[in-house]
């Protein structure tokens, strides 16, 4: 799964730690999400879309594989 999380985060001026605090997860989780090494659970995806005020599909794009 590919994502635009880092772009959205930078646009909003959040640090990784600030976003992690908003989501209630560890900073490592945000790092792994941005690198595409971790596909979030559905509840976490909904939290992300709520934080950024967009749809889940705007954040995550199915990868080629």
């Amino acid at each position: 799964m590919e994502n635009n999380l880092s772009e959205y985060r930078r646009e909003r001026g959040f640090s990784q730690q600030a976003l992690a605090d908003l989501l209630g997860v560890s900073r490592q989780t945000v790092i792994s999400l941005e690198k595409g090494r971790y596909d979030p659970s559905l509840p976490l995806a909904f939290k992300l879309s709520a934080v950024f005020g967009c749809r889940i599909e705007d954040l995550f794009v199915p990868g080629e594989n």
């Binding site: 730690q17 992690a20 605090d21 989501l23 209630g24 997860v25 560890s26 900073r27 490592q28 989780t29 790092i31 792994s32 999400l33 090494r37 971790y38 979030p40 659970s41 509840p43 976490l44 939290k47």
Partner: protein, 158 residues
């Protein structure tokens, strides 16, 4: 993970039943003492005959050795994790939880394979192993397996 202690949070947290951090630590130590006393009593009652002759000493050593672990266990049961500095609100959604799940899943299959092969080897070679030692070995193996797998996954995926 929060880099700073938030309001109402502390390094050792507070009890889910209320009270200060100091109270939680005192209750944990007292709970640990009670648990140790109970275990020492069981040891005195059902322990090996040789130790019956040195009841007081063996019970005291046993209780002292178990006190840190028993107190830590009490602390874990009484702790309100929301009051612990650095604790994330949603650990299930964090990557660390995913790593642990993967490590535990892999270790479970390792244990099945190792216990199966071990049982076959012991049966074929007709080796008698003390059940207590065998169970302790399995528990240690499981713990080390999960730890090693977790660290490897963290290194690769972190």
């Amino acid at each position: 993970m929060d880099s700073k202690e938030s309001v109402g949070q502390s390094k050792w947290g507070r009890s889910r039943f209320g009270g200060s951090t100091a109270l939680l630590i005192i209750l944990s130590l007292l709970g640990g003492l009670v648990l140790c006393a109970a275990m020492a009593l069981i040891w005195w009652t059902f322990g090996p005959e040789a130790d019956q002759q040195r009841k007081m000493l063996s019970g005291l050593v046993f209780a002292l050795l178990m006190l840190p672990a028993a107190s830590a266990l009490c602390w874990v049961f009484m702790l309100d994790r929301d009051t612990l500095a650095g604790a994330v609100r949603d650990p299930e959604s964090s990557i660390e939880g995913k790593w642990y799940e993967k490590a535990a899943f892999g270790a479970f299959h390792d244990l099945i394979a190792l216990c199966g092969l071990g049982a076959m080897a012991l049966g074929l070679l007709r080796i008698d192993v003390e059940p207590v030692m065998l169970l302790v070995g399995v528990v240690l193996l499981a713990a080390v397996d999960v730890l090693v797998r977790y660290l490897v996954i963290k290194k690769v995926e972190g």
